[in-house]
């Protein structure tokens, strides 16, 4: 019997759009159909990827509500599954999938943006404390959803005597613990999607280390890879908009709550769709419309070419970085077009044009600046030599870095500004 037939039969027996959201998700998750590619012992069914994709398709077609599209589900859960101890898996996977736990990333710091491996949040092990405990002190920024989060995935320095990438450890922090202070960090466009988080003598039990002590960089890279692969189209069952049933309605409400801080996300890409639909009699503006349409089409084609080549088993270069550079260029060009199309109305503050103009600068900073992407492209695709100076091979203690005396908020950089976004909020 095929996977689709299996699932159809199971849905016929269990799926009821009138169930409560939490109730239904518990049924789905416990059945294994929420993550059929995961191992059977961890809320999965151990299906091969093709079968899992087929199941995904069946669920999508039937508009069955799945796990929420959150940092917890999309980023944290796969990382815990891959790197976590059985204790962490049994503690955190199910609540994430069901939607009971919200998570935030605690990676970037005021002094460590582009240079994420340079974080200086300090975690010290105190085996003498009850239950073998880590004490954490530091300052994190660009944490999306930190206000509402139950748990945070923290990148901290645990060894200062080894090179920077080797002294890092990932810890799971209880965001309600004593010493965790969350402060919203409003952006230039008036939204406060992100927070900064100050950690003062926060206690973390030793069993909440994710991965190896000193192996935090590998965990973070795995997580960022999950984030990138999401961009390539993976994801959860979409939440339908206007369909019937209590379960779907509650899921839509949940998604809307999660998206309220992210409504500007499409605008940061420049809204090329609006430019392409715009008309102008001004030949200069028409040129700009043409440029935007050109870049938008090419961006889509290049992404498609990368996907097609990947499917044909051809070695990938740094398509992600090239695509990101193209996204930046497109967003900038689109912002110019919007300003030109608006004419004097660009002077107004409460317009979609204004939101676009004030959001586009994020796209060439967040998730790795354009400058970092160019380094990656030049070194990994073109094979140009790395910068001969590097702090990657000396003990971190000896690396020059930003002083701890710097004022709060005055030394931020945006490696993590992108964070995770609810599906549908980005484009």
């Amino acid at each position: 019997m095929s996977v689709a037939e299996d699932l159809d039969r199971w849905l016929a027996d269990h799926w009821d759009p009138e169930l409560g959201l939490r109730e239904w998700r518990a049924v789905l998750v416990d059945s294994g159909w929420a993550r059929p590619a995961w191992p059977g012992e961890w809320w999965g069914m151990g299906l091969p990827p093709a079968d899992a994709a087929e199941a995904q398709r069946v669920l999508a077609e039937a508009e069955v509500v799945g796990p929420p599209s959150t940092v917890a589900v999309n980023l944290v859960a796969p990382t815990i599954l891959q790197h976590g101890s059985d204790l962490l898996r049994s503690t955190f996977l199910r609540p994430a999938l069901v939607g009971d736990h919200a998570w935030t990333q605690l990676f970037s710091e005021p002094g460590a943006g582009s240079d994420l491996a340079g974080v200086t949040t300090r975690a010290e092990r105190r085996a003498e404390l009850p239950g073998d405990t880590w004490i954490v002190n530091g300052h994190k920024v660009w944490n999306s959803g930190a206000q509402d989060a139950d748990h945070g995935l923290l990148l901290a320095r645990t060894d200062w005597d080894v090179p920077k990438h080797r002294g890092l450890t990932c810890l799971v922090v209880d965001m309600r613990a004593a010493g965790v202070h969350v402060r919203p960090l409003p952006q230039m466009n008036g939204y406060a999607t992100f927070s900064e988080v100050v950690l003062t003598d926060v206690r973390v039990p030793a069993e909440h280390v994710l991965g190896e002590v000193g192996g935090g960089w590998a965990v973070v890279n795995a997580m960022l890879a999950n984030e990138r692969s999401l961009g390539a189209g993976a994801g959860t069952v979409p939440v339908p908009g206007n369909v019937a049933g209590r379960c779907r309605r509650e899921a839509a409400e949940e998604a809307a709550r999660a998206a309220r801080h992210f409504s500007w996300y499409p605008q940061r890409y420049g809204r090329a769709d609006l430019v392409a639909a715009a008309r102008s009699a001004d030949p200069l503006v028409r040129q700009q419309i043409a440029r935007v349409v050109t870049l938008a089409r090419i961006a889509a084609w290049s992404a498609g070419r990368a996907r097609a080549n990947l499917r044909l088993g051809r070695v990938a270069g740094a398509e992600g970085s090239l695509a990101k550079l193209m996204t930046s260029e497109l967003a900038r060009a689109a912002a110019v077009a919007h300003a030109q199309l608006a004419g004097p109305d660009v002077l107004l503050g409460d317009t979609l044009t204004a939101e676009i103009l004030l959001s586009v600068p994020a796209v060439s900073i967040a998730g790795g600046t354009d400058e970092i992407q160019k380094n990656i492209v030049a070194e990994r695709v073109l094979g140009l030599p790395k910068d001969p100076t590097s702090d990657a091979h000396v003990p971190f203690r000896d690396v020059r870095r930003n002083g701890p005396a710097e004022p709060s908020g005055a030394e931020l950089s945006g490696a993590e500004l992108s964070g995770a976004e609810p599906s549908g909020a980005g484009s």
Binding site: G113, L347, S413
Partner: protein, 382 residues
């Protein structure tokens, strides 16, 4: 203007002008620091009347280009260029562009008109705020209203938008259609049927408003049918002042970013030692110094009463607009996440840059004007 390589006399500000700039900078540092800018941009009026009074009485900023007859010092447009550059650096919230750059400029052109004697002394001593309805484009907006005789006076009906500081102006100058052609009129705050609403603007440090006139009593100013030439001249002067303000804003952002790049460490090095940062800063300096050259020389043309003023005003406004926008954009990029916060001043300059670029005509419009003036094929308004 036909041979751009023709020799022109070398020009730089003299020591007195530079010193005056320092005085203004110090004043603004004391009275209009970043915290104060943040405070004022959230208030209803958008400026501090006490600071304005001090600028008028202590520094004489309001009377720099007003003849002594009317209480000013008659120094001229170049000194105002110095002031606008400093105001641009500080993002100072004050009715400088409207009252001094526009209203005083216009009234000073009409020394024989009773309006000059009636309002200029008040502008100079800081007690009167004024504005001119120029419209948002590079071509002046005349007529903004219809004028009709009513007994011995006139009643105006119409609407003008994007009027700088309309919400606080005591006197409003605008062009209105009469049988003799578009004529300048002056309406006082509180006149019957005159409404001024502040617009929600991209740039919270400069207020723009919409004027509505419904049979509003207004006094004709200057010769009948003469509005176009006066408004065009004020548009040119205001464009030059805006250009200077833009150069100042760009210079401030560059200095901020350079300071940051010297001290911000990533990968074990000051980021300013990376060529990507270093070269971008060098490019920004070229933009800033070029913007200054453009604004200063346009100011010189204004001070000299040069026939080149319309062309140079267009040139300076186009160049300085692009330069400020580019410097603001590059600054945010180099500041990284910090530049994207509400807390950092970068976004206020970004907002100012985008807005100033559109105000009084965008760069494309001014470049087209410049070429038309080169062609000699442009029927200028004067």
């Amino acid at each position: 203007m036909t041979d751009p390589t023709a020799a022109e006399p070398d020009f730089a500000f003299d020591d007195e002008q530079l010193e005056f700039g320092r005085v203004v900078r110090q004043f603004l540092g004391r009275r209009s620091d970043q915290a104060e800018v943040r405070r004022l941009m959230a208030t209803g009026t958008g400026h501090d009347p006490d600071v304005w009074k001090a600028l008028a009485l202590q520094l004489g900023v309001t009377g720099l280009a007003v003849p002594e007859t009317f209480g000013g010092t008659g120094r001229g447009p170049l000194e105002l260029v110095v002031v606008f550059e400093e105001f641009g650096r500080a993002l100072a919230c004050a009715p400088l562009l409207s009252t001094v750059g526009m209203a005083a400029s216009l009234l000073t052109r009409l020394p024989a008109d009773p309006a000059a004697l009636r309002y200029l002394p008040g502008i100079v001593d800081g007690s009167v705020l004024g504005t001119v309805a120029l419209g948002a484009g590079s071509e002046v907006d005349v007529p903004a209203a219809q004028a009709e005789r009513s007994g011995s006076g006139w009643l105006l009906t119409g609407e003008a938008t994007f009027v700088v500081d309309a919400h606080v102006a005591d006197v409003v100058l605008l062009g209105a259609a009469t049988a003799a052609g578009p004529t300048l009129f002056l309406a006082e705050r509180g006149a019957a049927g005159l409404g001024a609403t502040a617009l929600d603007t991209l740039d919270p440090t400069r207020r723009l408003g919409r004027l509505r006139l419904r049979e509003t009593p207004a006094a004709p100013v200057g010769e009948a049918g003469g509005a176009r030439a006066h408004l065009a001249a004020v548009r040119d002067l205001a464009a030059v002042y805006l250009a200077a303000e833009q150069a100042g804003g760009a210079a401030f952002m560059l200095e901020t970013v350079v300071e940051y790049a010297k001290h911000r460490v990533q990968f074990g090095r000051a980021i300013g030692s990376f060529q990507a940062v270093k070269h971008r800063c060098a490019e920004m300096l070229l933009l800033v110094e070029s913007a200054r050259s453009a604004a200063y020389h346009a100011g010189r043309a204004a001070a000299d009463g040069s026939a080149e003023l319309p062309a140079l005003a267009a040139l300076a406004k186009a160049y300085c607009s692009d330069a400020y926008v580019e410097v603001a954009r590059a600054s945010i990029q180099l500041l990284g996440g910090l530049g994207f916060t509400w807390e950092h001043p970068a976004h206020l300059h970004h907002r100012r840059a985008l807005s100033s670029s559109a105000l009084l005509g965008d760069p494309n419009q001014h470049r087209e004007r410049l070429v038309r003036l080169l062609d000699g094929s442009h029927t200028e308004e004067r």
